[in-house]
């Protein structure tokens, strides 16, 4: 039986779903009997929910993203004048916490070796066609964010987005509105994937864009399967002869919730 001190201490991790099943169950058992713990939990949960719902997530100005891309360009292919200026800039801010950066490097290395081994195992199990498609999907998702070209047609009205595809594709993608469930429809665009034009429906959830790729040609229905790549999450499935892939930087469980909602639509 978990004692009060221990349960009280673990409450934030319970709110954040960072506990293992056994600990979570033990905390729940204790919560039923303990008034102070229940009060503390309510407060933690209230702040957790309110920040997520109402806290502002600032977005980088487009000009800043451009400046950074230019900086990287200048660094990768330095010209004399530009290089000196940049060195100057970097030098001015440099009482760099070198030790901590090195510490980070070592930690990042350890993490990445683990991640590499793990993903190597995953990717070996995949056919190379699927691998290429995943890479293409992520590249397309990244590109859509970089050049600020998420939508060709920007609208939260499915009756505007769906007809827009008429005449541009040899199929008609389904467009559903999930704003009430927290996934706002933002628009649609044409993209090119796997050697053919595809429809992309763009949604947004808490500032995180979701690209939903749709194209025909699935031979059989397959259930959703998850993949991670470069910090992005992908969920792909087939249904009604159509292929679907959702790509986002959302947490896996939230992207799965999105896919479940989509699939529940008639």
């Amino acid at each position: 039986m978990m004692d009060h001190e221990e349960a009280f201490e673990l409450l934030p991790a319970y709110v954040d779903q960072e506990l293992g099943v056994a600990d979570a169950l033990a905390v729940e058992r204790h919560l039923r009997l303990c008034v102070p713990c229940a009060a503390q939990l309510a407060e933690q949960e209230a702040m957790h929910a309110r920040l997520r719902a109402e806290g502002t997530r600032y977005r980088a100005p487009a000009a800043l993203v451009q400046r950074i891309a230019l900086d990287a360009r200048a660094r990768a292919q330095p010209r004399a004048g530009m290089f000196a200026r940049l060195q100057d800039r970097a030098g001015s801010g440099l009482d760099v916490p070198m030790r901590s950066l090195h510490g980070w490097g070592a930690a990042a290395l350890a993490v990445s070796v683990l991640a590499l081994l793990w993903s190597a195992g995953l990717y070996l199990a995949l056919p190379s066609g699927a691998q290429r498609l995943t890479a293409e999907l992520v590249a397309s998702h990244v590109r859509s964010l970089q050049v600020a070209h998420l939508s060709d047609v920007a609208s939260s009205d499915k009756h505007t987005v769906k007809p827009w595809f008429n005449g541009k594709l040899d199929f008609s993608p389904s467009v559903v509105d999930l704003a009430a469930q927290g996934f706002a429809l933002e628009g649609g665009r044409l993209d090119y994937l796997d050697g053919r034009p595809v429809a992309v429906i763009v949604y947004r959830h808490r500032q995180h864009p979701i690209n939903l790729y749709i194209w025909p040609g699935a031979v059989s229905d397959t259930p959703p399967r998850d993949q991670d790549r470069q910090g992005f999450h992908l969920v792909g499935w087939s249904s009604g002869a159509m292929n679907y892939w959702a790509v986002s930087d959302l947490a896996t469980n939230e992207l799965e919730a999105f896919v479940a909602l989509l699939r529940a639509q008639p």
């Binding site: 009482d95 510490g103 990042a108 790549r229 910090g231």
Partner: protein, 185 residues
């Protein structure tokens, strides 16, 4: 324009996370222009150290560099005695009152049109001490795991948990008087 392989990898792994980097910098510095300077500087550092990065999730890596850049920038400003804007004591909840600079959205109409809740929660978060503010931003607004936060901040996972608990408690305490006020006549 041809990209070098390093540049291409940098574009794929780091550039997509500029929003996360900016959000963290903006909440740490509490100023739009300073946040832009910090993120740009951090990205220069990231590019310089990029050869040493072999992971495939650039987001926590970049956010760690943003955080380090903020702290060295912050120390520098303190050393120069130009730290009035960032003196925690001055931030009693309303940043514009402390800096004397009116916020662009501070006109009465904008205030009325904005939802009270949004404004209150942002102000409350802004008023927290930086070590509490940063863990809340990383956890609630950026959805990082305890493990990622622990790596970025350089503290044990248990400390992430207790710091989040205290941060939420302070946030609730800061919000309570304001909420009562709205209930009144």
């Amino acid at each position: 324009m041809t990209l070098t392989p390093k540049e291409r990898r940098f574009r794929e792994l780091v550039l997509p996370h500029i929003d996360s980097a900016f959000n963290l910098a903006r909440w740490l510095a509490r100023d739009d222009h300073d946040a832009q300077d910090i993120v740009q500087e951090a990205c220069l550092r990231a590019f310089r150290f990029f050869d040493g990065f072999h992971g495939n999730d650039g987001r926590p890596w970049l956010m760690g560099i943003v955080r380090n850049t903020f702290y060295s920038w912050h120390r520098q400003h303190q050393a120069q005695g130009r730290n009035t804007v960032f003196d925690e004591d001055l931030h009693g909840g309303d940043a514009s009152a402390a800096t004397g600079v009116p916020r662009a959205d501070d006109n009465p109409e904008a205030i009325l049109m904005r939802r009270d809740g949004r404004r209150a929660i942002d102000r409350a978060l802004e008023s927290l001490a930086v070590e509490f503010r940063e863990v809340l931003v990383m956890r609630e607004l950026e959805d990082l795991s305890y493990k990622e936060i622990a790596l970025i901040v350089g503290i044990p996972i248990g400390t992430v948990m207790s710091r989040l608990a205290r941060a939420r408690k302070q946030l609730a305490a800061t919000l309570a008087p304001g909420d009562r006020k709205h209930d009144g006549p």
